[in-house]
Symmetry: C2
Subunit: 595 residues, 2 copies
């Protein structure tokens, strides 16, 4: 694949597109369309936007992703977490006019699209790796809780907006006497029905002999049933007259193409700048979510997706969303799984689903007039509560305290302060903890195991040592953050054992030595020299040696470079009697004991 | 040493203090005092403060460091780089009243002292390691240039203040017709004389038979001669009447003890908050400078210093400086070397120097009235230009492009924007470059070398491989930033070679596997399983194995864990014919070729 055509995966699969694939893609598209309509409406509401914006975000982006994307199963569109982040980002602007909110959401999609596209062209998909698994897990769980709480107002028929659980709970508590009973009569049964569908419907259907596939599909279409039934109820009982909040008038017809935030004469630069930080976070989180889903589904078919090209696909999809009056989109988990299960063969399935939603936008909107917001809220609550998984706290506690800290900070930051602060805190914490870990490398004094050529830690093994020789192994590449640790270690050991005349650094675990570490090694060499001790290296890896040679390091250290550590010991301890070390197990931590 | 007494190193050396040590310390103190007086005055001027503040900062801090510090040779007081940073920090506040500037500088010292003290108590000296050598080198060189330019105004007798070379050069250029010739007649000869002393005096003295030590001392006392001569000239020729800027009236007597920024009724919280960021940077940079000097000098005597206790010593010294009307201090390079060369035996030498400066403050200040600022500026320029070393750019370019980038960013940021931005940019760049490097680990497919038990990269060596087996080695610990790289690598290789039934990951270079990497390994295991390929590990290190066992990882992967890679190959390739790989040297970068 050439560089240019690699930017258009459609050129590869489109050339061999068959009628069998067309049938598969068409069928998958019908199922996804039906599922996507209520979901799109609901998530737009979650983002603090009119419901129909969700439909707009589910048309052009899907077509564009089909051109640029590499996953055959990924279904792009509005998703829960990104909608929550959109709500937080545009909520922070202090806008009250709904039209301005719509423009801001479209600007956010445009910015996010540009960021993703640029990252894709610069092949910076690796950046997404810095969202560690604990951060993502903590963030998704906390977001699920915040989203569910934020939708409670629609079920209760009160006004309580907020971006963290403290705001939400206190506002809901303040409104406890103002709950609107007709709304609750719609919302609670809808919620109960949806929970029952998740938990009870599938076993029931299976028991009466319905196939696994069909039973799974029925569960996924539950929200559609709720939507239809509650629309009919509301219309027949005139519940809107009694104050039940409904979706209301949706502009009929397809969205026009515009550059958001662009008035006739001036471009709203300030708005774009204000939203840049949020757009960056939304881009990264959306990309991580989308790529994980795409990779999981691709592996099942033994296919590959290309993360850098996915950045381009998602970037183009968001720009398309922005231009067609939508808001930030990404590849969603639940709908991609539906798409995959329904047999989507190529990215064309997404484009066909877009046609379905366009038709719905053209002809179904009058029917959606009576849709109660409470039933949309119920579908969201049921969907997001399945994301909540507090067991990650326990699992990370068992596995590693550093990972636990990252989960805890992300989780509590997101719950108590907000999504953006939460995820930022988590990323900073996980990077800092990693850096601090590498800044304190495991350094061991080693001795010879029996008569073998193996050398092990003197603190844990009965090994042979020599009074005139200090053999040291560092279990980490040497770079600026840990360069001084070795200096401190050697200084401390030499100050204690005055008989030492040679220090040999066993470099078998050193994959890299940076300029700061070189300075530190030169300082060590000089210090040791002034103490009348020579400094040697052993088992230096090829690429590290190349680099040391570039600055002629090896010619000006006081000692030599030995191929193996055994060679060093043989050369430096001739005539010196050896003795056996006494392991001090009690001083060693269990972690390092095995090394 | 107990925990409590370890906080007071004076209790250790004070107990055995001898009259011989007293003589040594006393002599060193006299020499340091004489050298410290002009330096203190000059650096205070550089910090944008009245000259006598430099004297205040050289009394109590020295006494306090003698109690808490661990280095016998370190001389604490005002230094060039910290003075420049102080000028930038208090210059940003927009204060015009000199009294307010003095208070702000004292607050900065107080904050910096508290930060250092807290870091010391929490044993966070390791933080200083994140100032990599390239960042420090670039910063010091750029600071030297900025400082020299900032002092040019005193030599030229014009008004041109600024915090980067663009501001300074444009202001100096704008003032080019307003230069004050009488000032230049003082400044230029002083500058020329000082440069000559540095370059020409020592060889001359050595040639006429003066000892190395005495010749070196004479060079270091050059500034004192300049100060005395220019004071006499200015007084006799009444140059102050002709507009030559002089130090003027210095309050006679010792500074009183006060908490700065504390009015009778309200504490100036805002000022403390505004200065917190600057204080943090000053603390870290001051600590790094001081510890490097102290470690270098301690090594010469085969002594040790304790970085965490140094934090406490410097913290206490800065708090003392703050309370006694001074400004931020740290251990300076030039004066510590003088102290060491003059034979200082214990930290008491510093306390004795403090007595000398206190006496000077009491009795010498009337004599300093006529001291021209131009000659102080000349001493600064000569001192800081010796810090400028642009060769670090070339050296780091040769050694590593990542290190070069960090130097270049720090250097240009400091020169063109300012000290705080410069050093922050450098730290962020060096950490990011390191993380990006580890995020793209070296991963190799390996094969058996001849009939040995060694396995090497198939791209560079003629090694034995088997069609049903993919042997992979990762040269880095697995953590969140690189976990996905292995997943991508394996997916790509398996998609290409359909005959593979087993993947063995050789873990000899893996020192750590974090929670994200575990998730990734589990995903790999599942993906491979769905492709009908088993996933095995070999040569897992003890501590890594312990951790994997905590979550029973090894029991639910599809393959086994082998003690050595050879064992894995023997077990998995029975009856499968092997063939020899063809190395593809041209595709391999020279860096990885040797692995």
């Amino acid at each position: 694949m050439g560089r240019f055509t690699s930017y258009f995966p459609i050129l590869a699969w489109g050339r061999t597109y068959s009628s069998a694939q067309l049938t598969d893609d068409g069928l998958a598209a019908i199922i996804v369309t039906i599922m996507l309509i209520p979901q799109s409406l609901a998530y737009a509401l979650l983002a603090g936007l009119p419901a129909h914006i969700g439909l707009y975000a589910s048309i052009l982006p899907l077509v564009v992703y089909a051109i640029f994307g590499t996953s055959s199963a990924l279904a792009v569109g509005p998703v829960a977490v990104i909608s929550l982040m959109t709500a937080a980002a545009i909520g922070n602007l202090g806008l009250t006019d709904p039209t301005q909110l719509i423009v801001a959401a479209a600007v956010l999609a445009g910015l996010s699209g540009i960021i993703l596209l640029v990252m894709g062209i610069l092949r910076m998909g690796v950046l997404a790796n810095f969202l560690s698994h604990p951060v993502v897990a903590g963030f998704i769980t906390a977001s699920g809780i915040v989203i569910a709480l934020s939708q409670a107002k629609h079920i209760l028929g009160v006004d309580a907006s907020g971006h963290n659980i403290i705001q939400l709970l206190s506002l809901l508590w303040a409104e406890r006497d103002a709950v609107h009973w007709p709304t609750i009569y719609i919302g609670l049964p809808a919620l109960g029905f949806l929970f029952w569908i998740r938990a009870g419907l599938k076993p029931l259907l299976r028991a009466i002999g319905v196939s696994e596939w069909l039973a799974g599909l029925a569960v996924k279409l539950g929200p559609v049933v709720v939507i239809i039934v509650t629309i009919l109820f509301t219309k027949m009982l005139h519940l809107d007259m009694q104050g039940v909040s409904i979706v209301g008038v949706i502009p009929q017809g397809l969205p026009g193409l515009t550059v958001p935030g662009l008035s006739v004469l001036d471009f709203d630069t300030e708005l774009w700048i204000q939203l840049a930080g949020s757009a960056f976070l939304i881009s990264i989180i959306g990309f991580v979510e989308s790529v994980s889903v795409a990779q999981t589904l691709a592996a099942k078919k033994r296919e590959r997706i290309f993360p850098d090209q996915e950045l381009i696909g998602l970037g183009a999809a968001n720009i398309a969303s922005s231009l067609s009056g939508g808001y930030p989109v990404t590849g969603g988990f639940s709908r991609s799984v539906v798409n995959y299960d329904a047999g989507a063969a190529t990215p064309a399935a997404g484009a066909f689903a877009a046609i379905g939603i366009a038709l719905a936008t053209l002809f179904l909107t009058p029917f959606l007039y009576y849709l109660p917001k409470a039933s949309l809220a119920a579908t969201i609550i049921v969907a997001v509560l399945s994301l909540v998984d507090l067991s990650v706290l326990k699992r990370s506690w068992v596995y590693s305290k550093a990972d636990f800290t990252a989960v805890l900070l992300t989780l509590s930051g997101t719950l108590l302060i907000g999504v953006e602060i939460g995820v930022t805190l988590g990323v900073i914490a996980s990077i800092s903890l990693y850096l601090l870990k590498t800044a304190r490398p495991h350094i061991a004094v080693v001795g010879q195991v029996g008569r073998t050529e193996h050398f092990r830690n003197v603190l844990r093994h009965q090994v042979r040592i020599w009074d005139n020789l200090l053999s040291v192994r560092v279990d980490q590449s040497l770079y600026f953050a840990n360069a001084r640790a070795l200096e401190d270690f050697l200084t401390a050991h030499i100050a204690e054992s005055k008989s030492v005349r040679h220090v040999v650094l066993q470099c078998s675990a050193i994959n890299e030595i940076d300029a700061s570490a070189i300075e530190s090694l030169e300082a060590i060499n000089e210090k040791l020299h002034s103490m009348n001790v020579s400094f040697h290296l052993s088992e230096v890896k090829g690429p590290v040696m190349d680099r040391l040679n570039r600055i002629a390091f090896t010619t000006h250290i006081s000692g030599q470079v030995f191929l193996s550590h055994m060679d060093a010991v043989k050369a430096l301890t001739a005539d010196i009697p050896s003795h056996i070390s006494v392991p001090k197990v009690e001083g060693a931590s269990p972690r390092s004991y095995m090394k």
